[in-house]
């Protein structure tokens, strides 16, 4: 090859290499910028800090599977306990930096101000028409006829109990309030805490008070009507229920210092088989499958209706039930569409409802009976039976049905009642005073 020809070949090769590398560079840049554009970050605020059991596990599973199916989506989860959650949520609201998707309690005391101020994005009813939500379950997530959140659970109150302890001390599982008082006496005599309850958190005490009102009256609306009409103090049924609650305290029905016990403390007491009963909601269904609890406990845990009261008009099937926890998407989110897609993905009946139920993690807000396999835990079966046999349900509990301040004050008054800092009469007088100030 002549010198000239060699020069030409080398030049052509160099030019070709240059073109290829420039083209490659451009291509690479294009790909990189395209992938940068596509990466979506979604901030997720949750009230489920335990990501290894119950609802927290389910939430994390669905988030992980969504990220796997959508590699360009990165979901950052911030999970806090209920009380810190409420405070952090408030800070986000005050600074107008709402997470893209967040947990909400579908209660007027929590979600109504949020919906009214326009912090939550609207969810079109068309988008969830096949999701199996009953209209009643969406009621407290709606404002002015528009939907702003989706409930994740069916919440209802039951009395969990430990079969082993009842057998050991030959105590009958209580079906009446008197039997409950007697059972409490026997367990106390044997050094077992009768009912574990988280009195420091206060809300549970207010719910228990409503339970007693319902069992006394057989009227789910009574407590709401009395407060709305501001005629509480002289209502004899409300007074009787307050006295029942104090009576239960007087016989030592709860663990010692229960007003200073938080959620974890009460739950541990029951799970460690040091308490015979546990008054709590259906969201504890996962106890029977929780790997952190002993086999003995899981074998013995069971649930029943809250007892009826002799002379009362309530039936055991009159239960306190509502759709509390759920999710909403921020109206000001920069990735609103992506966050909405994630919400709809998670709440699809084949995911939250089906997986959650079949793994024994939740009692879903959507119809779960079609997902029953026959392999359910005792608790799942019992809770299904209790809920499906309900003859009346309460809806949002009384302290959550009005303003946030009504909730705080009413719950504090309930705690004062059980701590015997006020009499049942004074308790009702104070609730009436509160209703006059807070309920329009």
């Amino acid at each position: 090859m002549s010198k000239k020809a060699l020069k030409v070949v080398v030049s052509v090769m160099l030019i070709a290499a240059l073109i290829v590398s420039v083209f490659g560079l451009v291509q690479g840049n294009l790909t990189a910028s395209a992938s940068t554009q596509k990466t979506v970050k979604i901030k997720f605020l949750s009230n489920l800090p335990d990501r290894t059991s119950n609802q927290g596990k389910l939430e994390q599973m669905l988030i992980d599977s969504y990220m796997k199916a959508n590699p360009n989506v990165k979901i950052e989860v911030e999970a806090l306990q209920d009380e810190p959650y409420k405070q952090k949520f408030k800070v986000y609201v005050a600074t107008n930096q709402m997470p893209d998707i967040f947990m909400v309690w579908g209660q007027p005391s929590f979600f109504l101000p949020v919906m009214k101020a326009g912090y939550a994005a609207e969810i079109k009813l068309d988008q969830i028409k096949d999701y199996g939500f009953k209209t009643s379950s969406l009621k407290d997530f709606m404002y002015n006829g528009k939907l702003y959140g989706l409930p994740r659970n069916t919440d209802f109150m039951v009395l969990y109990y430990n079969k082993g302890l009842f057998n050991k001390y030959k105590v009958k599982v209580p079906t009446t309030f008197d039997e409950l008082l007697n059972a409490a006496k026997v367990f106390r005599k044997n050094g077992i805490a009768p009912i574990a309850i988280n009195g420091k958190d206060k809300w549970i005490l207010a719910i228990l008070y409503q339970e007693l009102v319902v069992k006394e009256s057989g009227d789910q609306k009574l407590i709401y009507d009395a407060i709305s009409k501001k005629s509480v103090a002289k209502n004899q049924i409300l007074l009787k229920a307050a006295k029942d609650l104090v009576n239960l305290v007087n016989v030592g029905g709860f663990q010692d210092a229960f007003v200073a016990a938080d959620y974890g403390a009460a739950n541990n007491l029951f799970a460690q088989e040091k308490a015979a009963m546990y008054y709590m909601g259906s969201w504890e269904v996962g106890m029977a499958a929780n790997p952190n609890f002993s086999e003995s406990f899981k074998k013995n845990v069971d649930a029943t209706y809250f007892p009826i009261i002799s002379g009362g008009k309530g039936k055991k099937t009159d239960i306190l039930a509502w759709h509390g926890g759920g999710y909403a998407v921020s109206a000001s989110s920069k990735v609103k569409n992506e966050a909405m897609k994630l919400l709809l993905y998670m709440m699809h009946p084949t995911r939250w409802a089906k997986i959650g139920w079949q793994q024994g993690l939740v009692v879903p807000g959507q119809n779960w009976e079609k997902f029953m396999t026959g392999k359910e835990t005792v608790l799942q079966k019992k809770l299904t039976q209790i809920f499906s046999s309900a003859t009346s349900v309460s809806g949002t509990v009384w302290q959550d049905a009005f303003t946030p301040n009504f909730k705080t004050e009413a719950e504090t008054l309930c705690q004062m009642l059980v701590a015997k800092a006020i009499t049942p009469e004074k308790f009702l007088a104070k609730i009436e005073e509160l209703a006059k100030l807070e309920v329009k």
């Binding site: 420091k200 010692d256 210092a257 007003v259 200073a260 004062m416």
Partner: protein
């Protein structure tokens, strides 16, 4: 140099950063708090101006506010009349022990101060537990079962139980400040007093306590401010309960702002809170007017 430093523009330039920080970090938030205290803002949406309504409500009808203030003052008194005499006695004891024991005791007493409040609070919740808590167990062991209590769960004992935790947590600081003060008193003064015939307790009442007065004043001021600001321990142990039996101002303010959605009302409490702190401190400074000893 003097000319430069006496130039008004230079002074302004040097003062400006501090002034700006003070304005934006302290003055502006206080003014904003006063304004928000005159609104019914829930923290969501827009605030409505309602004048002095919140202040009137707090002063004339809010029993929990007054109870919280009373509890804070009780804690301050407990610091001053219980914690501090004990801390001073222990400081004198450690000072006298000397050698290795002095270092060991100093470390032991200071341990609670270096452990996070959340840890010590949880520890005390366990100690107070009526079922498995150490306190009731010890009472049982000493055949004093009749003294057993539901410490944090009873309206009669919750406040005193919280006060005990607070005193325990702050004991090391009080002790350390007294200890440092004691180290500053020259030994010659004691020697001279001994030559003059002073002995035992007299040495402390006539030399130690008078010479420690500036230290005592600082220590008391810190304790009173700390008592009024008390929040973490209350939140982590009783959250003010049962009812409002062990409620303190800062915790109450927090509940109003974050649980009741009454941001405006909480701001009004915070304004009154600042006024209460200032009033208590002014009062304290007047009571504690002392001569300055020099040595």
């Amino acid at each position: 140099m003097h000319r430069v430093l006496s130039d008004k523009r230079t002074i302004l330039l040097l003062v400006l950063p501090g002034l700006l920080i003070y304005t934006f970090a302290i003055l502006f938030p206080i003014i904003l708090s006063v304004y928000l205290g005159m609104t019914d803002w829930s923290g969501i949406g827009r605030p409505n101006f309602i004048g002095l309504e919140n202040f009137k409500k707090i002063i004339f009808t809010d029993t929990t506010f007054w109870k919280s203030l009373r509890n804070a003052i009780l804690l301050a008194l407990a610091y001053v009349f219980v914690q501090h005499p004990i801390a001073l006695a222990f400081a004198i004891f450690i000072d006298k022990v000397g050698g290795r024991a002095e270092k060991i005791f100093r470390t032991i007493f200071f341990i609670p101060c270096v452990i996070p409040v959340v840890v010590t609070s949880r520890m005390w919740v366990s100690l107070y537990d009526p079922q498995y808590g150490l306190i009731n167990k010890i009472l049982d062991f000493l055949h004093l079962g009749f003294l057993k209590q539901q410490w944090l769960g009873d309206t009669k004992t919750a406040l005193i139980s919280v006060i005990i935790i607070c005193m325990w947590q702050g004991f090391g600081w009080a002790l350390l400040i007294y200890y440092a003060g004691l180290k500053g008193i020259p030994e010659e003064l004691y020697e001279a007093a001994r030559i003059d015939g002073a002995t035992g307790v007299k040495l402390y009442t006539k030399i130690t306590v008078p010479l420690l007065q500036p230290v005592i004043k600082v220590n008391f001021t810190i304790a009173i401010i700390y008592a009024l600001k008390q929040m973490e321990t209350v939140y982590l142990t009783t959250n003010g309960g049962p009812g409002d039996a062990s409620q303190f101002l800062a915790n109450y303010l927090y509940i109003r702002a974050f649980n009741s959605y009454q941001y405006g009302y909480a701001n009004a409490i915070s304004v009154l809170f600042v006024i209460a702190c200032l009033a208590v401190n002014v009062l304290f400074q007047k009571i504690f007017k002392s001569e300055n000893y020099e040595f």
